[in-house]
């Protein structure tokens, strides 16, 4: 769609306009009526002056007197026309503006809906900054031609009438004059063809600029601590310079196109004059008709120019539309089933979790991160998943909340394959607390409830269980305290505990903690886990390293290189498995080694 040739661009541009008109027919009509009103009343000014001359100026200066009535009529006439014309301007421009902004808003809603629906794998491939640029700049570009369009359409009538009158005056001269049209079309096609590549590049670079800026600001701390400001500026500057060049190229084309669009009708007039003089000499036409055709051609020039403004916006519009369409057409969102989870006896009674022969590889990667994982966790039981860094633990947790689907095998909750569950059903039963807590730019309450309708008491309970209630109580505003983007005002441990409270307040039937308390003091962590076990019946899967955490588990699953190496109780595994023991006893071993060294 984006590599269409020039004629394609013009056609596509008109198609986009058509799409806009179909979406907002009423506002569009208001705007065009306004444009017609404006055009008509511009002519009326000349008529009014004629009337005033005839009925006011001439008799008054002739007779040396004038009736108040006439003066009032003249004043009323001019002011009235001005008022009506102002009304026309307002209708045209506000109409076009309302239409443009509505279409933009509609486009942005559509695009962001896709952002929310598309899967994690899609998001991994599309940098945030680029997505921002599509939602902002590409949508804006798409509807760029809307603003000048009503004017162009409103003057279309002017053009049609003028062309008719030209033909009536002298067919030959009219046809010569009408050569302007193919010339305008050719100029337009050439402009579209040459602009399109640069327009595409400019939009692409806008997105890249946004991408670099977004990433760079997110990584501001690293940039600062390593003193990489010059390098980051160079990276941003490189894209900014490329964008500058693309914009200048587009500007140069515009610089050719604009005078061409206003010059071609003049050229047409001159051509008609030259041909016309010969015809007048030969007696084939009258001077008056020649004058008429010339005059009408200058009338035609204005609609052509306003059409030029519309066409000039086409390349950006088509490119923007293409980039938006790409997002709208992107697929891969998760399919949902219709099944519901069986209703438990008690609302928060633990669910049964089962993994059957689960395989998973990241898109584009050859190696599978998880291979043939079989695992069953009975309701209310606690399983600890233990493994070295990069052994596949976090991937396992993303499968449980269905951020990704397994390549092979099944993940079942209460016997139902997660893929068969109705939308929203899984989130009601399962809560995953990830390693890196994500805090929204919202209040404490908003961050914990995420819009779920829960009483403040329950929020406080969740905060208390997550051992973060005292922190919140100390905040100015308590539950209503705003946390800032990414929770910048909180420490890492506080963010993690808040994320935990977010999970707890939902009373999940399966709670998955992915090393979710790594930044919390060990002792606080112990109290959190103890409180958890005492207060909720949820099935619990914890990814952990600390023995105190592991000790809570009814069963330990030792994950190594993407497979379940062993399972059993902690004590059992320490005895049976050397690699497991080495992993969990690392601190003691290190200390013992140190002591040995000292002794030796």
């Amino acid at each position: 769609m984006s590599t269409a040739p020039a004629r394609g661009t013009t056609v596509a541009g008109f198609r986009i306009l058509g799409e806009g008109i179909r979406a907002e027919p009423r506002v569009f009509a208001v705007s065009v009526v306004g444009a017609v009103l404006f055009g008509g009343l511009t002519v009326a000014d000349a008529w009014a002056l004629g009337w005033a001359t005839e009925h006011g100026i001439t008799p008054a200066l002739r007779d040396g007197e004038i009736g108040t009535g006439v003066l009032v009529a003249i004043a009323a006439l001019f002011v009235g026309i001005a008022l009506l014309r102002a009304l026309g301007v307002i209708a045209r421009r506000v109409g076009a503006g309302v239409m443009q902004y509505r279409l933009q808003a509609q486009g942005r809603r559509a695009v962001t809906r896709r952002y929310l629906a598309l899967p994690m794998s899609w998001h991994q491939r599309h940098p945030t900054g680029q997505l921002l640029s599509t939602a902002n700049s590409d949508v804006e570009a798409t509807w760029g031609p809307i603003a000048p369009m009503p004017m162009a359409l409103g003057t279309l009538a002017m053009m049609v009438i003028a062309v008719g009158q030209m033909l009536a005056a002298d067919v030959v001269l009219a046809l010569v004059g009408l050569l302007v049209f193919p010339a305008v079309i050719t100029a337009n096609l050439a402009f579209q063809r040459r602009s399109q590549g640069w327009a595409m590049r400019a939009q692409q670079l806008r997105a890249e600029l946004s991408e670099v800026a977004h990433e760079s600001f997110e990584g501001a701390q690293v940039v600062k601590t390593l003193g990489r400001e010059p390098e980051e500026t160079a990276r941003f500057g490189a894209v900014a310079h490329e964008l500058r060049e693309a914009n200048i190229r587009l500007g140069l084309l515009r610089a050719v196109f604009d005078p061409l669009m206003s010059g071609l009708p003049t050229l047409g007039v001159l051509l008609v004059l030259l041909v016309g003089v010969g015809r007048v000499e030969a007696g084939a036409t009258s001077p008056a008709d020649l004058v008429t055709v010339c005059y009408l051609l200058t009338v035609v020039a204005f609609p052509i120019r306003s059409l030029g403004w519309v066409l000039g916006e086409f390349p950006r519009s088509v490119v923007g539309h293409g980039r938006v369409a790409e997002v709208l057409a992107a697929t891969g969102e998760m399919a949902f089933g219709t099944r519901r989870l069986p209703t438990p006896v008690r609302g928060d009674a633990g669910a049964t979790l089962e993994l059957r022969g689960v395989d998973y590889a990241y898109p584009g990667a050859d190696t599978r991160v998880l291979r043939g994982i079989d695992l069953t966790v009975a309701p209310g039981r606690t399983v600890a998943v233990v493994g070295a860094t990069a052994s596949g633990k976090s991937t396992l947790t993303t499968l449980l909340s269905r951020l990704v689907d397994p390549d092979a095998g099944q993940v079942l909750l209460d016997g139902v394959d997660l893929r068969d569950l109705a939308p929203g059903e899984l989130a009601r039963a399962v809560a995953v607390v990830p390693q890196t807590a994500f805090i929204f730019d919202d209040t404490v309450r908003g961050n914990v409830t995420l819009g779920l309708d829960v009483a403040d008491d329950d929020v406080w309970w969740a905060l208390r269980t997550a051992q973060v209630d005292d922190v919140v109580a100390a905040l100015d505003g308590g539950l209503d305290a705003r946390l800032g983007e990414r929770g910048a005002s909180l420490s890492g441990g506080q963010r993690q505990r808040l994320a935990l409270a977010r999970a707890l307040v939902r009373r999940p039937r399966l709670l998955v903690l992915d090393d979710a308390t790594s930044a919390v003091d060990p002792e606080v962590e112990a109290r959190i886990l103890a409180g958890l076990r005492a207060q909720v019946d949820t099935t619990l899967v914890v990814v952990a390293y600390r023995k105190a955490t592991i000790g809570l588990a009814d069963e330990v699953v030792h994950l190594a290189d993407g497979v379940v190496r062993e399972r059993g109780t902690h004590a059992d595994l320490v005895r049976r498995s050397e690699s497991y023991a080495r992993l969990v006893n690392a601190y003691e071993d290190a200390r013992d080694d140190a002591r040995e060294e000292v002794r030796a």
Partner: protein, 611 residues
């Protein structure tokens, strides 16, 4: 100040002046461009006149004397030449304007971007990323549109207005006064309208920023939104921000159009007044009928530049709203001022590494209670120091002050005997490196991310560095090795792996003072122990300050600094501290040992960390 200046209090002229100073390219060759503009606009008048002449005289439409072929051809050729010249002038003008505007704005963008990185960390963290992005992207785009199409037109219009006034005066001073009296309220009200519009467009730009933030947040936090199934609520928030932008934009436009239309109505009133008073003057014998009609045309000559100028002013408010926000960035003081070339370079002591001194340091986050009180601390060069303490004890703040991510409110932090505020930024960043708990990775290869610490490092150097840190196996185990793409924010890697990359990066940077803030908290114990051992070897000859929950680090350190409620409460080697049963450290250590060794779910007695 902890927020980025929005430039909202900059007046129009101030904005323009500041803007032109910041982007000198904008005024480069402005005279030639203006000349082109004059030629182009003259042509727009002359060519129609030539045609008019041909029609009237060459064709005898007016004289009735029949067709004058040679005159017609001559005038047509003259008009054609005129068209060529004016088109060329118009091309040159537009091309030059585009070049100047785009160059000037690229410079402005880059300056603003650089400055944002130089702002204090706290300021950066208070701002929403999406809003900052909009300032260096779409806000600048807004200015470009205006500069290309608006700036010169405005100047030309003012000129035309003055010329129009002079010609009118020549015809009739009375009617000229009438016209000016009619327009006086409009001119007078311009300030009011412009101020309102400036606010309206300021709101529009701010809402673009809010909208981008609302969109970016759930994209960055995509996994939370999905796993909690809160798409609907998130969409509602996004929709609200979209609607609020739409509303602001519509309002600003409506206001602009209405204020523009008032100009049109004023023109109507002026026409009416000129006619009525003209007729009365005519009756008094001061004007002829022809002069009255001619004056009516002159009014048009005056009115259309007024209309165009109003429109340009309105558009200018839109552009200035964006411009202000970009300039606002540059007006925000970089609290941490880099002394630049006047600054001191950090020198390494004879024993290797840098010594550290906290001299009566106090610090409070803006609007918050003090988090550090009167911290006094001297750490010798080459020492391995562990800082321990409960959550909120001020450990991380200490690390940020030590690496000059913030400056203390009172007292001074000295490294190598030099107050950090007087150290040249480039020297500071080369010598002092912080590894935070959540090290940010860029959406690039592992290689590029590691090389962020040392841009000159080749693969062999990186591999060696990984071996030295005990990460050789991990690196070798990655299928794509150094070519592994880490994904956005490094999210294709696990949190533990991201920490490994950050460590490797810091190791390559080879600092004299290394500050680790929970840098291995997400790494498995075995690997952590291995890294700790490696760091012990590698930190020989440099000073290291490690903040950790896991007290295994403290056990290995030369010196342990114990923080509690923003104060240093204990310090000394582990062996000495642990024997003081009443000390904070002994309690911390007891709880750590209990955590480490006891695989049970029972809650230990609440201790010092429970706060």
């Amino acid at each position: 100040m902890s927020t980025v200046d929005t430039g909202a209090d900059l007046g129009g002229w101030q904005t323009l002046r500041r803007g032109l100073v910041l982007s000198p390219e904008l005024t480069d060759g402005i005279r030639v461009t203006a000349l082109c503009a004059v030629v182009a606009s003259l042509g727009q008048v002359l060519t129609p006149i030539a045609i008019q002449q041909t029609l009237d005289r060459g064709l005898g439409a007016e004289t009735g004397a029949g067709v004058d072929v040679s005159f017609t051809v001559l005038m047509a050729v003259a008009a054609f030449v005129g068209l060529l010249i004016t088109s060329a002038a118009s091309y040159l003008m537009t091309a030059r304007l585009f070049r100047a505007a785009e160059r000037g704005l690229a410079t402005l963008r880059i300056k603003a971007f650089r400055h944002l990185h130089e702002l204090p960390l706290l300021t950066q963290q208070t701002e929403r990323r999406g809003a900052l992005v909009s300032r260096v992207t779409s806000d600048v785009d807004q200015v470009s549109q205006f500069l290309v199409f608006g700036g010169l037109v405005f100047v030309v219009s003012i000129g035309q207005m003055l010329v129009g006034t002079l010609v009118m005066l020549w015809y009739s001073w009375e009617l000229t006064i009438v016209v000016w009296v009619c327009f006086a309220p409009l001119f007078w009200s311009i300030r009011f309208f412009q101020r309102r519009l400036s606010r309206s467009y300021g709101r529009v730009r701010a809402r673009v920023g809010q909208m981008l933030s609302a969109i970016s947040e759930p994209v960055v936090g995509a996994s939370v939104v999905r796993s909690y199934g809160v798409q609907e609520r998130t969409q509602e928030r996004i929709d609200a921000s979209i609607a609020s932008h739409q509303q602001a934009a519509t309002k600003a436009l409506t206001f602009s159009v209405v204020s523009f239309s008032i100009g049109g109505v004023t023109a109507g009133v002026a026409n009416a007044a000129v006619l009525v008073i003209g007729i009365l003057l005519g009756i008094a014998g001061r004007l002829s009928a022809g002069e009255i009609v001619a004056f009516m045309f002159l009014v048009t000559l005056f009115v259309s530049p007024v209309q165009i100028a109003t429109q340009v002013l309105n558009d200018a408010q839109n552009a200035f709203a964006g411009w202000r926000r970009v300039i606002g960035i540059l007006s925000t003081p970089a609290d941490l001022v880099d002394p630049g070339d006047d600054g001191v370079a950090l020198g390494v002591s004879a024993t290797g590494g840098l010594d550290v001194e906290f001299d009566a340091v106090g610090f409070a986050y803006p609007g918050g209670p003090p988090v550090l009180h009167d911290v006094a601390l001297r750490l010798p060069a080459g020492a391995r120091v562990a800082v321990v303490g409960g959550t909120g004890s001020g450990k991380s703040t200490l690390a940020k002050l030590l690496t000059r991510l913030m400056d203390p409110d009172t007292g001074a932090v000295r490294v190598g005997g030099v107050d950090l505020r007087t150290v040249r930024e480039s020297s500071l960043r080369r010598s002092v490196v912080l590894v935070p708990q959540e090290g940010f990775l860029f959406d690039d290869t592992l290689r590029a991310n590691v090389r962020y610490g040392d841009l000159g490092a080749d693969d062999a150097r990186i591999t060696t560095a990984a071996e030295e840190l005990g990460l050789g196996d991990w690196l070798a185990g990655l299928p794509a090795g150094l070519d592994t793409r880490v994904g956005q924010r490094g999210e294709s890697l696990s949190a533990g792996e991201r920490q490994l990359v950050a460590l490797l990066r810091a190791h390559l940077a080879d600092p004299d003072l290394l500050v680790l803030d929970e840098a291995t908290s997400a790494v498995d114990p075995r690997l952590e122990v291995r890294i700790a051992a490696a760091l012990e070897r590698l930190t020989a000859g440099r000073t290291s300050v490690t903040i950790a929950h896991r007290l295994s680090t403290a056990e290995a350190a030369d010196e342990v600094v114990v923080m509690d409620a923003g104060r240093v409460v204990q310090r000394g080697p582990h062996a000495a501290l642990v024997t003081d049963p009443d000390g904070v450290y002994a309690a911390l250590y007891a709880s750590w040992v209990a955590q480490r060794d006891r695989p049970s779910g029972e809650s230990p007695a609440p201790g010092i960390l429970a706060r």
